[in-house]
């Protein structure tokens, strides 16, 4: 079934970008919405891209609903399943930097796909990835130097 096939990559992306607790709720909602909207999937994009787009919109909806409640930055809850080093690195990035980096460097998305998902111009997306990567490299090299 589709949930079995795609939960690993979707939850991987969501937990690295938003934190694991939030990730599981968003992933569940996304799968449910994808099931409801199955007829609208036209096969132009990969199914995983379509599903991730739904999940991203779910996250935006949650943020919009809870704007008044001051939703905590997800970086504080990134830890589960990640090494402290990666956790620390990602925690210092903004949400869009994390999302861009995870998609393009970890999940093999093209810049065009990621830009479309995040609603960013292609040039902005590329510079966001480059900036996020440079920040991580700096932290990684700093940690290596001790």
């Amino acid at each position: 079934m589709l949930v079995e096939k795609y939960e690993r990559s979707l939850r991987g992306f969501l937990s690295r970008t938003f934190g694991r607790d939030v990730a599981d709720d968003i992933a569940q909602d996304a799968f449910l919405k994808a099931w409801r909207a199955a007829g609208q999937y036209d096969g132009r994009a990969r199914y995983s891209t379509w599903l991730t787009r739904i999940a991203w919109r779910c996250r935006l909806d949650v943020l919009r609903r809870h704007r008044a409640d001051d939703v905590p930055e997800a970086s504080a809850a990134l830890s589960a399943g990640l090494s402290a080093e990666v956790d620390d690195m990602l925690g210092r990035l903004s949400e869009s930097e994390r999302a861009s980096l995870v998609l393009c460097e970890g999940h093999g998305w093209t810049h065009v796909e990621a830009a479309e998902l995040l609603g960013l111009p292609l040039g902005t997306l590329k510079s966001t990835v480059a900036r996020a990567k440079a920040k991580c490299r700096e932290m990684w090299e700093g940690a290596a130097r001790g």
Binding site: M1, A27, C136, W140
Partner: protein, 110 residues
């Protein structure tokens, strides 16, 4: 060419290398099954409601047609109490008939 950092980053950010999470999959499947059940119940309810409205309209039209017949109209005008008793009985019968589920049981009142 990818250096050590690139390799580290790629492996750190790649989807986790593991089997599907059975608990999560089961949770999502349960929610989908629940949604399917609710959708089926909803459509059955709408279907039943339409059928009942149609039946009510047909009965009302029948009663109206019968009421227009001269002997019935004169009976109603001479003794309205009898007419009311007949209408009440017919309405009660109708409620019992429409309240029956397809399996023949009467839907309990809540």
């Amino acid at each position: 060419m990818a250096d050590e950092f690139d390799r580290f980053l790629e492996s750190a950010l790649a989807p986790p290398d593991r089997l599907p999470d059975r608990k999560f999959v089961a949770r999502v499947q349960a929610r989908i099954a629940l949604e399917e059940r609710l959708a089926a119940q909803h459509s059955a309810l709408v279907h039943d409601l339409l059928k009942q409205l149609l039946a009510l309209a047909a009965v009302a039209a029948g009663l109206w047609w019968i009421g227009r017949a001269a002997p019935v109209a004169s009976l109603f005008s001479q003794s309205p109490a009898v007419g009311l008793a007949i209408l009440t009985t017919l309405f009660s019968l109708l409620v019992v008939l429409l309240g029956r589920r397809p399996d023949g049981k009467v839907v309990p009142a809540h």
